[in-house]
């Protein structure tokens, strides 16, 4: 799992290195701030909340968020459907670049 012990921002910045050139690490940190409140500083999960760091490829991460937002795929989301409806595709891509596996 990436980022054990690294701060969210450090990961955002690491994400930048691998992300499309336009990704702004500060914006990534601001957008992913909503995620880390429950999923842990590095997306490591815990206390019953699933890990989101290093668990999916970028494409799968984005597809999962879109499925939550559009009410497809996972038939019975608990809170993520309500959460995903607040975010844009561009923000899903930033989250994916930040949390997803590199491949």
């Amino acid at each position: 799992m990436p980022g054990q012990g690294l701060t969210a921002t450090a990961i955002a910045l690491l994400g930048l290195l691998a992300a499309p050139a336009a990704a702004d690490p500060l914006r990534t940190a601001l957008v992913t701030g909503g995620c880390t409140g429950c999923h842990g500083q590095s997306g490591e999960g815990g206390n019953g909340v699933p890990a989101i760091a290093g668990t999916k490829s970028r494409a799968d991460f984005i597809a999962t968020m879109q499925a939550f937002r559009e009410g497809k795929g996972n038939p019975q989301p608990t809170v993520m459907d309500r959460i995903a409806r607040g975010y844009t595709d561009e923000e899903f891509a930033l989250m994916a670049a930040h949390f997803a596996r590199a491949n």
Binding site: A10, L14, C38, V79, R82, R85
Partner: protein, 433 residues
Amino acid sequence: MTGPTLTRRAALAGTAGLAALAAPRVRAQTAARIVIVGGGFGGASAARFARDAFPDVEVTLVERARSFTTCPYGNLVLGGTRRIEQITFTYDALARRGVRVVHDDAVAVDPQARGVRLAGGTTVPYDRLIMSPGIDLRWGAIEGYTEAAAERMPHGWVPSLQPITVLERQLREMPDGGTFVMAIPDNPFRCPPGPYERISMVAQYFKRAKPRSKILALDSKGGFSKQPLFMEAWAELYPGMIEWVSASNDGKVMKVDPQALTLTTEFGQVHRAAVANVIPPQMAAKIARDAGLANQSGWCPVRARSFESAQVPGIHVIGDASIAAPMPKSGYVASTHARQAVAAAVAALRGQEPPDPVYFNTCYSHVGPDYGISIVGTYRADGDRFVEVPNSGGISPRNETMTPERRAEQRRLEALYADGWYESLTRQMFGLS
């Protein structure tokens, strides 16, 4: 309570190195100084984020108390499933991460000279000031409800003024068969679902330990956050125990008598309590009002992209003290105000515009064992207004929309996620992970 120092150092070094690559120096000569007043949900989150995201900036946190007991999960202390030590934190880990923590009372702000005067006599200079001092209670807004009255009729709403254990003790000492009476304020106030989570947790305790006791909730409003979910849960878990009285049914408490333990409502009904919990009307904390940040409402108007005060330039006001409706006054949302305000403050020092904000909130409430519910909201700036993203967020699904099995699972998971949220956010804001 703390992570291994080596890991932390490595993390800091990593952050600093990369950030130096990514961001131009804030200042060539001396480090820019961000000062934060208040080390609660907004202020501690701001300090943590500023330290991580901007290694070149000097971050000072001014907080009068040496430890912080959270409001969140205080209701679980009443319910008997948490102890106060489990919801109390220190600032040591933030200090070890490089935040300059000053334990003193901020008594005045000079926005011209850009300094915060402390009770100890020193002045802390700033380039940008972030204020997250929380709330004060409006003593006397309910006739008879003074600071002295709060000993007999606890509020349990501001842990630094009164630990939740005062109310806890009264509930434990209450004889079975008594009535617990609550007075609940009108909007806006700290934590819209908080009073109703409290009703639920007291009911959970009564059901177990004092089953003949009753709860009477006298409300100054016509409705409340997550109302249908709370009402369904109360009927199911605590049948016959809870009576909620809306403002239109004479729920508004106008006067209290702490000696007689009575509460008098708008149309003159007098209710006698075995234990009374009075949550009075509120306003931004004194230092914010004294600094000229509040308008006549008692709360502080701010700009929607930066949380900079609409009244005093160079000062950002975040958390409960700010006027940020439709966002609720919650700890989670205060942490997202914090990051945006820090980013906007640094941008201002660099002569740049604030980044595009996205503010996020989830308020979980525990209503019984393995029974949690939530309200979610995502917010953005539209010009100088805060707006909720259309068709997003909302409350947990109602009972009738789910099979019994799914219902039990939904409520169980939300109670679990609530615990996860608490753990994650508090560890983050106090620098523990």
